[in-house]
Symmetry: none
Subunit: 231 residues, 2 copies
């Protein structure tokens, strides 16, 4: 899978520090875009999306604080503040105003790099859609969100009870399920001793599986004990 290059906007009016920060970004494997004033930064922000922004507070043109507000209004990009201001009150104010992190000059190169990585990692983790759950066994596949069951590439039309039985069996593929287990798990009632209800549903399920793939047997009866998936 092709990964899009990570682009980081570096907003810092001091030439040497800007160059140093760009070198950190580059050495971390990302693409830096240097930028020396608040008004210049505004142009880059309008031009495209940035994966992360390194922002100095003391800037010519627009201030860092104004820029922070604009970034937060218009995009989801994480913002790490780089600042000479050691005043604790300011740090807290900026963190509450929307910054994701606050690093005081003089900074440790490796720490800047580690914090960039940490924020990008968080962003990536939360931006990646959660995988939907899937149960698989042999050529059976169950999508638990859509409740869709396919066997040998064919979609099965199962009743609610049949689906529940199959999902339970596949959730523990080695386990023997007694009729009592099945009944109490799926019917959520105490087992009253009439075995045939489970038997019939099991028979119906087998019948549907067999129609989808006549060459295979999926469910095995253990005489006197219960049912298990056939290995």
């Amino acid at each position: 899978m092709e990964t899009k290059p990570i682009k980081i906007l570096v907003i810092e009016d001091d030439d040497d520090i800007n160059e140093l920060l760009c070198k950190i970004v580059l050495n971390s494997g990302y693409i830096p875009q240097p930028c020396f004033s608040g008004t210049e930064a505004k142009l880059y922000l309008e031009k495209e999306e940035w994966d992360l922004i390194l922002l100095d507070l003391m800037l010519p043109g627009l201030t860092g604080e104004e820029l922070l507000r604009e970034v937060n209004e218009k995009s989801n990009s994480p913002v790490i503040i780089i600042s000479a201001l050691e005043e604790q009150q300011k740090k807290i104010e900026i963190l509450r105003a929307g910054a994701d992190d606050y690093i005081t000059k003089p900074f440790d190169l490796e720490e800047v790099s580690a914090r960039i990585d940490s924020h990008l990692r968080r962003y990536k983790r939360l931006a990646t859609p959660k995988q939907t759950s899937e149960l698989k066994y042999k050529d059976i596949s169950i999508n638990t969100e859509s409740k869709e069951v396919t066997v040998n590439g064919r979609v099965l039309s199962l009743t609610a009870r049949e689906y529940a039985i199959l999902a339970l069996l596949i959730s523990s593929p080695q386990k023997i399920f007694t009729r009592t287990n099945l009944f109490e798990s799926i019917w959520s009632e105490d087992y009253l001793g009439d075995e045939n209800t489970v038997n019939v549903h099991m028979s119906n399920l087998r019948s549907k599986l067999s129609r989808a793939n006549p060459d295979k047997e999926y469910i095995q009866t253990i005489w006197g004990m219960g049912y298990r998936l056939k290995n």
Copy 2:
């Protein structure tokens, strides 16, 4: 609209510091759960989801580092490390290992609070699905700003409830929505068991869709389970 309380797991073996951190959490408007060992933390982590975790590195039972790894494997919760270790190398190592932040003892109360807020804000921002201006499915098109729905090129006149049901179905086209899902999402109330309200609105929606395009069936009933868009 009712918001779910934010729950923060505070993992710290020093009684006084644990109590202080819990007070910060409480004063920030969140619900703290104090926890004094790595092994105790593990139990809480298995028991439920946490909105954020404050984690000391030096712990009895499981170490903070081992816990960090487990949290990252099993959940998406942000982790802020609280540590007495001033060693820069350790900080960098932990940030790279999956921590979202690293605060050195002795800490500033307001800074801890501000950083908690910053991480929760980031999490919330990224967890809230971006509003898409248009939802499409087959020949159905929904403009989420104007609330206009067209099917097969024809504008549908839907009531608020009908619109909400259709938008929800289309937002997850593969998913089965139980009547409970639909009711709780659209009515934002606990489901009291009367199914017919949902049924009637669904029938009305189907009727309007069918009038717009009599050749197609859009909504499929899965007996005993719920409704899904027909693929």
